[in-house]
């Protein structure tokens, strides 16, 4: 027998678990979005306060040593050069990690501002150009879960486009009507087979490879929204549509 589903347990008159109503499950999932962002914030703060300060401080001291005349030639100078280069690489990796994952001030910033910040951050980290525009003003009083979802979904859409489209310029257009927020990401790159990629991303587990589309789809589902992706020779258009309430 399968693990207790609400209907099977009630038939037997002794529910093994309290049934979870879909609506409540969805609300719980939205609550977890903020918790996940808080965890991320804490991890990044720990990296900031620990390794970043130490590596940056150590690298500064190594640069001072490299200025000494007796250390500008010979084996020591080669070793110091290598050490400096590997510390710089470590910092570079941390920079990309922090840049991508540090949450913006979701509570303080309006939706349009956090989307624009994401676009600037993406341009700054990748060197890509993103044409960002609002077709209508976006409402200020949207739920926190919607801001988090839209931010992370757009981030994944831009990352996917940058990784796979083979082009370096993208368009992001956002608009709102009375009931929805719609964000469209377009590239004019090489396109891909949507069905094939989605099929590959089923059941990737925790250690699976890239699951960008799957993650986007799951985040959209939590918000009862719609995700549509059309892709072909002319490029890819990803449209995210989330209800305001």
């Amino acid at each position: 027998m399968s693990p207790a589903s609400p209907s099977s347990s009630s038939r037997r008159g002794r529910p093994a678990r309290a049934p979870v109503r879909p609506r409540r499950a969805s609300l719980a999932a939205r609550g977890l979005l903020a918790a996940a962002e808080r965890d991320l914030q804490q991890i990044i703060l720990d990296i900031h306060d620990g390794p970043v300060q130490d590596i940056f401080g150590a690298l500064s001291q190594i640069q001072v040593l490299r200025h000494r005349p007796e250390l500008q030639t010979g084996d020591a100078s080669v070793v110091l050069g290598r050490v400096a280069a590997s510390l710089e690489r470590a910092l570079g990796e941390i920079r990309n990690f922090i840049g991508a994952f540090r949450p913006p001030e979701f509570e303080r910033r309006p939706l349009g501002a956090i989307l624009e910040q994401l676009v600037v951050q993406h341009e700054s980290l990748t060197g890509a150009t993103v044409d960002f525009s609002l077709a209508t003003p976006l409402p200020d009083d949207v739920p926190l879960s919607l801001k988090i979802s839209l931010y992370r979904i757009l981030q994944e859409a831009l990352a996917n486009a940058t990784r796979h489209a083979g082009v370096t310029s993208f368009e992001v257009l956002a608009r709102a009507d009375r009931r929805h927020i719609v964000v469209r990401v377009r590239d004019r790159g090489r396109g891909f087979n949507v069905a094939k990629v989605l099929k590959k991303e089923i059941d990737v587990g925790v250690a699976g490879g890239h699951f960008g589309l799957r993650g986007m789809r799951d985040r959209v589902a939590i918000m009862n929204g719609k995700l549509s992706i059309s892709s072909g020779r002319g490029g890819t258009v990803v449209t995210i549509r989330l209800p305001l309430s």
Partner: protein, 215 residues
């Protein structure tokens, strides 16, 4: 001589940066502190040209210090030094009227370059953050005379059509360092992209002088 006040609550960072700046020509560290509450007083006492300000100062928030420096009209450029280069941090630094942002996740040599740039009146922010910048002022567009030797070299290669990666190979530095120089270059020249910078090169550097530049 550029006089610098260093503010950071991490002793190793303070010691490292101080040592590095002392070995740099044209830069003098006039004071250091780990205490955000003392920054305004120290700035009045030492009259630095540039305050290098960490944002995490224990109990004090670096932005509060920056707000106070601006409110008290302390006449120093302020370079924010942080590990955070995300969109939120860039925007917050601009909103608090910093003159630039240097990252602890970049090489410390970049912090030195950024100190020189803000001292020359350049707003040091990634190109992508331009959309949030104050309207260009006279001091934001400094002109070719404000270019450092390295920036001038990058400008020449850029004008000859080389990519950042190719320039990096030629100069023996990383592409991100070239990107940093091009951004400062664009700002000093008051241009928005490579093409405009190349056109400006043709305009500003007479053909006869280009050979000398190569020398």
């Amino acid at each position: 001589m550029i006089k610098v006040l260093l503010v950071d609550d991490h002793p190793l960072v303070l010691e490292g940066l101080r040592g590095l700046m002392e070995s740099e020509p044209g830069i003098e560290v006039v004071g250091t502190t780990t205490d955000g509450a003392r920054v305004v007083d120290l700035a009045r006492q030492y009259r630095p040209d540039v305050v290098v300000l960490d944002l995490e100062l224990g109990a004090t928030n670096g932005y509060d210090v920056l707000t106070k420096l601006r409110a008290e009209q302390v006449p120093a450029r302020v370079l924010v030094l942080t590990a955070y280069g995300d969109g939120e941090s860039l925007r917050a630094a601009l909103e608090h009227h910093a003159d630039g942002i240097a990252l602890k996740t970049d090489s410390p040599a970049r912090t030195i370059d950024a100190i020189r740039a803000v001292n020359a009146g350049v707003l040091v922010f990634p190109q992508a953050a331009r959309r949030w910048m104050r309207k260009p002022t006279d001091r934001a567009v400094a002109g070719p005379s404000a270019l450092s030797d390295r920036e001038r070299e990058v400008w020449r290669h850029l004008a000859s059509g080389l990519s950042n990666a190719a320039i990096a190979r030629k100069l023996g530095v990383s592409p991100s360092t070239v990107k940093f120089h091009t951004q400062n270059l664009f700002q000093k020249l008051g241009v928005g992209n490579r093409t405009a910078a190349a056109v400006e090169y043709e305009k500003q550097i007479p053909a006869a002088a280009r050979g000398r530049e190569r020398g």
